[in-house]
Symmetry: C2
Subunit: 100 residues, 2 copies
């Protein structure tokens, strides 16, 4: 009969996987902010507003659909995207106040 994992080993295994996923999240978020920085510069150079409510509504609906497919709480997905977009808009406002 195989030896069961000790409790602490089981927890350590979960945590190692969680740490790997967190590194993925950080690197994907970093790339996302690199892109939104370029969007912010583009918006500044073309006199566009920092926030685009129509685009945001589309993003939220799309991510809620993806979340349902992945068994993630769609309300959490919406709060997550709101959290990220609020940071992006803050960056766009900062870019606008910088010289082009």
């Amino acid at each position: 009969m195989p030896e069961p994992s000790s409790p602490s080993t089981a927890l350590q295994e979960f945590r190692k996987s969680i740490d790997n996923l967190d590194a993925t999240l950080i690197y994907v978020l970093a790339e996302r902010f690199r892109l939104t920085k370029r969007v912010g510069e583009y918006k500044r150079d073309n006199g566009l507003p920092s926030s685009d409510k129509g685009r945001e509504a589309e993003q939220i609906e799309r991510l809620k659909t993806l979340a349902r497919e992945a068994d993630l709480d769609p309300e959490f997905a919406e709060r997550f995207l709101r959290f990220v977009i609020d940071e992006v808009i803050c960056h766009h406002e900062r870019i606008k106040s910088e010289p082009g």
Copy 2:
């Protein structure tokens, strides 16, 4: 001389990449919550508390270091992890109140 992209095409290209990254984020978050669900069940079955301040402090320091390497604002990374951990603790509390 190559034709420059029209403004709307340039923005559409950025947005397509952002949408792809957002789908990645949603799927990685979904997998992370699958793992923390198992951690929550493990904690319930072994009488462990939902929250582990020592582990959380280690996670935050690690992610801030990764964020610096990836040129992501480390304060944003900390707020992001706090946002996710708060949701996880809420799930753990819910799991605790369910039969094992």
